[in-house]
């Protein structure tokens, strides 16, 4: 039977031939075998990239053919695309923060880290803080320095 005869169902919706579903199903299973096979080879950081590429090809096949986005009203696809845009904003913008947190706060964190005491499961400190006295004296020096700068600044502003 020609495919053109069976293009639409009784409600005017698109009717895909059974063979399309079987082909997409076979492609999905093949890609699953492929991604497992590739994961057995060590590609270093490319392992993640290749695995995500294959997963995305599979997801696109599911969305276009099983979920009918290829032939359906474009509004469904635009809503779904909107979700993906916001998902990438969520992940990428959050990671801009989490990946650089250490760099931004390294200097501010240094005096805090120096005084930090790590507690064990028994609620007692694991090690005595060796920087305790040194840290305290440094802080005094810093405070003194800060006071001087503040004083200088106030003189500047009165000029």
């Amino acid at each position: 039977m020609s495919r053109h005869v069976e293009q639409t169902d009784a409600q005017g919706g698109h009717l895909s031939p059974t063979s399309t579903y079987l082909k997409v199903g076979a492609a999905l299973l093949t890609l699953t075998v492929l991604t497992v096979a590739i994961s057995r080879i060590n590609l270093g950081p490319w392992n993640l990239v290749v695995a995500m590429l294959i997963a995305s090809v599979k997801a696109v096949l599911v969305v276009l053919f099983f979920m009918h986005l290829l032939h359906d009203n474009k509004i469904y696809g635009s809503f779904f695309a909107g979700a993906l845009v916001f998902l990438s904003v969520l992940i990428i913008l959050t990671m801009f923060d989490t990946m650089d947190r250490g760099d931004l706060h390294a200097e501010e964190a240094a005096p805090i880290r120096a005084r930090a005491v790590i507690y064990g499961d028994d609620g007692k400190p694991l090690k005595k803080n060796i920087h305790e006295e040194k840290g305290a004296s440094e802080e005094q020096h810093e405070n003194a320095a800060a006071d001087t700068t503040a004083a200088e600044k106030s003189i500047d502003s009165t000029d």
């Binding site: 579903y21 994961s39 053919f65 099983f66 809503f79 779904f80 979700a83 998902l87 969520l90 992940i91």
Partner: protein, 215 residues
Amino acid sequence: MAESATHPQYLQHHFADAVQQRESSKLGMWIFIVTEVLFFGGLFAAYAIYRAWNPEIFHNAHTALNWKLGAINTMVLITSSLTIALAIRSLQVDRPKPAQHYLWVTLLLAATFMVIKYFEYAHKFHLGELPGKYYTYTGIEGTNPHVFFSIYFVMTGLHGLHVLVGMGVIFWMILRTRRGEFGAQYYTPVEVTGLYWHLVDMIWIYLFPLLYLVG
């Protein structure tokens, strides 16, 4: 339109015609899918952040997962997606009987997925490969390997919960198909169930490589 003039039983009075009703239902389902993508998206973001912070933990801990069981479950879920798509196609061509059979196969495959998942979970409970403070296993090198298992259990647990809900809805669709409610004129409930089920499949398509293969 003939359908709207005779006002069939499945057409609710606040819709102008069957097409409008169907398109509204599907749009509603797609909006629900949007919320689901962002719901799971928070967990995918957590995965990305903790993996970036602890690459060696994720690498060492992911070897504790059985990739063979994960791969079998991926195939099971993909096949179930195929069978529910074929169930909907059968209804489109007005053949409810094969549609019902396809739905039963889908339900059976979903149950298979959960049984395999149960054995995986039972094994991890036995070894103490558990989230947070419940982690007692000692066979994984590196500090805080429980971070990986916290993410593993929350992501696969929430996904498993979706499979269970899907099984309930698919069973309901089988009953309604048996009662002769669906045919070429009306099959929207099965169609939106299919959309939900494909989403559950799609999330697993990402979970499988992220947790079992490249973790």
